[in-house]
Structure formats: structure tokens, C-alpha cells
């Protein structure tokens, strides 16, 4: 097996964009090819595209060749699209990793993208409601916000987590996204504003929720030997983990414990030969404020039920135990489903290359990205290490 490195990154502007799915792909592609200046497009032999809901939100199938055309590349080894709702992008990265590690591909481009804003928001909501089992759960009006609202309700009930603690996650992540010009919400928010933002699904308010966002992100992967010729700072993919259970919300053994996340984290760290305490930063899937709080616990950073205390003590901020979501997270950047998993990796790589603004610069050597989907039944983890 060959070592696999990220050697280039590209982001487009995220938000409610006056741009189509194809145009989002072009923008992130341009940013990527600008970053790896001098790379002939013919050398990109594979393209993996993470995109969750193109059929529903952009009335478009066969997305991978569509993106290849936008980027001007003609894959000769692998061309595929991955769909795994909010983990679509990280899944594309994993496929590219396997292709390069096995020698099937030498240079692979990974793009995550999603066009989520449509002229009819209720049609968008309808499409989002088919991520859960549409016939048995979506049919009841269940989408992500009410699901995670029940998660928050149970966490508050079982462990005494407070709405203020949840709001602190939003305040922190918006403080980071305020430094990120690509973010959907590049503005700080106060505790008061989060706590008094309109209710979406109680106890979750608007600013407890990630946005409905258009966006794309891209990374370029190659094998170990080539990586050192392409960049001074290759960032190696050292560990991968994934675990999932069931699908029907009603059948989940617990709303507040995510054993599949624990498993994915354990496996990815083991593969990397590292521990959580080796990490210099982490990008966690903060689709809702409560998610990040539970993730502190499942990462082993806080005891079960003490995730609220962890944010309260500033442990997930720069200067704390582990800086989390320095790009602004899903709360600050928005959450274009297929793009998020790729953008998390972009942040870690840009941190290691000192390509981020000083207000959020952490740098370091080890980074962890965590991406979840559905009703938090599926979790994926990538562990990255800066090469010298």
C-alpha cells in the first residue's frame, strides 16, 4: 500500500449563491488548480465527487461526468460519485485514498459539492426529509432539526446540559467563521443573539442550526513519492475509520450516545498510530450545537454527559485542550451536504500550510476530521499528519 497525501486544496464562496451546481464546481476547481499551479490537467487520472441530493435539489443525475466536464479533466482510471447524505464528501475522499493507496490512481481530484437553495424552500425541505426513512419517518415531518432537537432534549434531560452551553458552541464557531471569507456566515454572534434567535425546533434556535448552504470544496491527492515533488508541505492521510448502525430513528438504542462515532474514532487513530491527545486540532460535525457537545464526549475529551462543561471551560477553543472547528464549523460555514466532509480536510491542510488568517491559526502536526450523517447513525473519521 502506498502512502497518500493531500497536495492541494480549493474552496469556492459558500452561501445562498446566485450560481448553479455546475458553476460551484467550476469555482472550487479553479481554486484548486490555482493552488497546485503548474499541474497539467491531463495528469489528474481520477475524479471522485461527493454529492448527496443533486437529483432532488438540482434535478440532475450522473454528477461525476458533469463535474469532470466543468473542470476540463478526462479521467482515465476512476470516475465515480458517492452519496451518503452529509458524509458524501468524506466518502469520496476515502474512495480516492483507496485508489491511490492500491496504485490504481496516481493523482485523484476529490470534489464535494451541493446546491441546496432552490426557488422553493418547501421543496428543499421535502427533499431533505427523504434523507431519513421517507416512508416511516420523513412522512411525519421529520428532518434534521427536529431529530437533533430530540437529541438535545434527551441530553438536557439525562445530563443537565443547558441551552447556554449549546449557545457557546455557536458563539465559538461563529467567532472562527468571522475570519473565513468563504463562510456562509462570516460574522460573530453574541450569546444573547443565539439564545434569542427564532425557535426552529425547541430547544434548538436558529443559531443552534447549520445553514442551508450552496458550496463546493476540492482536494488533490497523490502518492507519497509524488507528493514531495508537488508541494513543500504534503499532508498525509494516516488514518481512516467509519462505523454505522441501522437507520430507523425509532430503533436507535440511544439518542445521546453515539457508539459508532467512538468506534470510527478509535479505528482511525489506531490506523494512524496516534491518540486523541496527539491531535493539534479537530474539525467536528457541528450540524447543530448539541452535536459538537456530544462529539467532545465520544472523542474521549470529556466524560459522558460533561460535554457542556467542556465548552463552558473553553477547552475546545484555541488555547484549550483541543481547538475545534477553526474554520467555523458547519454552524459558521453552512452545510452544503456533499461539500462539508471535503472542506473539513481543506481546513486542516491549510492550517498546516499556514494558509489561514492569524486569528484562527493553530498549525501543528496532527489533525482529525469527523463527519456524520443521517440521524447520527453513521460516522466517518480522517486523521491527517503534516509531512516535512
Amino acid at each position: 500500500m502506498r502512502k497518500v497525501a493531500v497536495v492541494g486544496t480549493g474552496l469556492g464562496k459558500w452561501g445562498v449563491r446566485s450560481a448553479t451546481l455546475k458553476e460551484l464546481a467550476q469555482e472550487a476547481g479553479k481554486a484548486l488548480f490555482d493552488d497546485v499551479e503548474g499541474l497539467p490537467r491531463e495528469e489528474v487520472d481520477s475524479l471522485l465527487v461527493g454529492c448527496a441530493l443533486a437529483e432532488r435539489l438540482a434535478f440532475q443525475s450522473y454528477v461525476a461526468p458533469l463535474v469532470a466536464e466543468q473542470l476540463g479533466i478526462n479521467p482515465t482510471r476512476m470516475l465515480a460519485r458517492t452519496e451518503l447524505a452529509c458524509v458524501s464528501g468524506q466518502s469520496a475522499l476515502k474512495m480516492a485514498y483507496m485508489a491511490i493507496a492500491t496504485g490504481l490512481s496516481d493523482i485523484a481530484l476529490v470534489m464535494g459539492l451541493e446546491k441546496m437553495n432552490t426557488p422553493d424552500m418547501s421543496e428543499t425541505q421535502t427533499s431533505m426529509a427523504c434523507v431519513l426513512d421517507r416512508e416511516w419517518e420523513g412522512v411525519n415531518g421529520m428532518t434534521a432539526p427536529p431529530y437533533f432537537a430530540m437529541v438535545a432534549q434527551r441530553h438536557m434531560h439525562e445530563y443537565g446540559t443547558t441551552q447556554e452551553q449549546m449557545a457557546m458552541v455557536s458563539v465559538k464557531n461563529h467567532r472562527f467563521s468571522a475570519t473565513n471569507p468563504y463562510a456562509h456566515f462570516p460574522k460573530e454572534v453574541s450569546m444573547n443573539r443565539v439564545l434569542n434567535s427564532p425557535s426552529i425546533s425547541p430547544p434548538l434556535n436558529l443559531l443552534d442550526c447549520s445553514g442551508i448552504t450552496d458550496g463546493a470544496a476540492a482536494v488533490l491527492l497523490t502518492h507519497g513519492d509524488a507528493a514531495k515533488e508537488m508541494t513543500d508541505t504534503p499532508v498525509f492521510i494516516e488514518g481512516l475509520g467509519q462505523a454505522a448502525t441501522g437507520n430507523l430513528t425509532a430503533n436507535l438504542p440511544s439518542l445521546t450516545s453515539w457508539p459508532t462515532m467512538r468506534r470510527a474514532v478509535r479505528d482511525a487513530l489506531k490506523m494512524a498510530g496516534a491518540t486523541i491527545h496527539d491531535m493539534d486540532l479537530a474539525e467536528l460535525h457541528d450540524c447543530f450545537t448539541i452535536s459538537e457537545i456530544i462529539e467532545y464526549e465520544e472523542l474521549g475529551l470529556a466524560e459522558k454527559g460533561k460535554g457542556g462543561r467542556f465548552i463552558e471551560e473553553g477547552q475546545s477553543d484555541i488555547g484549550g485542550k483541543l481547538p475545534i472547528n477553526t474554520r467555523g464549523g458547519l454552524l459558521g460555514c453552512g452545510h452544503p451536504l456533499g461539500a462539508t466532509g471535503v472542506a473539513q480536510v481543506v481546513e486542516v491542510v491549510q492550517q498546516f500550510k499556514a494558509q489561514v488568517p492569524s486569528q484562527r491559526y493553530v498549525g501543528g502536526e496532527w489533525g482529525l476530521c469527523h463527519n456524520l450523517s443521517g440521524n447520527a447513525n453513521n460516522h466517518g473519521v480522517v486523521v491527517l499528519r503534516r509531512g516535512s
Partner: protein
């Protein structure tokens, strides 16, 4: 209302409700039972596991022979919330509405459903609820729970 029974009112890909007739699904007895006021599911004849949702193959033992069994019609709220904005199509007029996970009495089984008969503010975890059969305008049927 005034339309032919069994005719869908929205395009198929915007229609949330399961197709329920014998020509569409092998678990059609679930819907027939529901019209009779019964909440039922399948139990695997081979291994005895109660399966939710109803299945045609047992995910535990691969058995294909199922018994239909009645589930309790009463339960308590394990978790609930209210959808106040962002309802899918066809549900906008219902806003705000309550959804919850109901733990069925005397079983380990939970089901997710709309909760009628109370607003979010009036509810708490553990609230008793009971089955409510909801006829759809096109002749199909669905289930909710009510306080």
C-alpha cells in the same frame, strides 16, 4: 375530498406516504390492520424477533415466514419536539406540529410519530399517548399518536 378514492394528489416524488395496496408492497396487511384501528408489525416465525418496521425477511436469521402481531396502542413519550418552521410540502398548514418518539407500553419497541392533541409547551417526557389512526384524503391511511 370529492376525488376518486386511492388517487394520489401530488406527484409521486413529492408524496411522503407509503404506497399501501397489495400491488405495491408485501407489507400491505399493516395498512389494512391500521384501517381496522390496529397497530401491527411482523414477528419472525423462526427466531421470534419482533421487527419494526414490518419486514418480509428477518434481518436476524434470514427467516421469511412472519406472523402479524398486534402492538400496544398506548405508550409514553421518550422524546419530542415541535416543528415550527421549514415543514415539507403538504405539511405547511399544520405548523407548528409535534413529533416524538413513543415507547410502546410493556415493550422495548419505540416508534416515531406525529403527536396530536397538545402543544409542545404542554408536554413532558413520559407523557402518556395513544394510537390515532389518520385517514388520508386519497383513501390511504397513516398513524399518529395523541395525548
Amino acid at each position: 375530498m370529492g376525488e376518486e378514492k386511492g388517487v394520489r394528489r401530488v406527484p409521486y416524488l413529492l408524496d411522503f406516504y407509503p404506497l399501501q395496496g397489495e400491488e405495491h408492497t408485501r407489507i400491505h396487511p399493516f395498512f389494512t390492520h391500521l384501517t381496522e384501528g390496529r397497530l401491527t408489525t411482523t414477528r419472525c416465525k423462526a427466531c421470534g424477533e419482533v421487527l419494526w418496521q414490518p419486514r418480509v425477511v428477518c434481518p436476524h436469521c434470514n427467516g421469511e415466514e412472519m406472523d402479524w402481531i398486534d402492538l400496544p396502542q398506548e405508550g409514553e413519550l421518550h422524546a419530542f419536539t415541535s416543528v415550527t418552521v421549514g415543514a415539507p410540502m403538504g405539511m405547511e398548514d399544520d405548523l407548528p406540529f409535534v413529533v416524538g418518539i413513543v415507547k410502546l407500553r410493556g415493550t422495548g419497541l419505540k416508534v416515531l410519530a406525529r403527536i396530536d392533541g397538545a402543544s409542545y409547551e404542554d408536554l413532558s417526557i413520559g407523557q402518556a399517548v395513544r394510537l390515532k389512526v389518520q385517514p388520508l384524503e386519497d383513501g390511504r391511511v397513516w398513524f399518529r399518536f395523541q395525548v
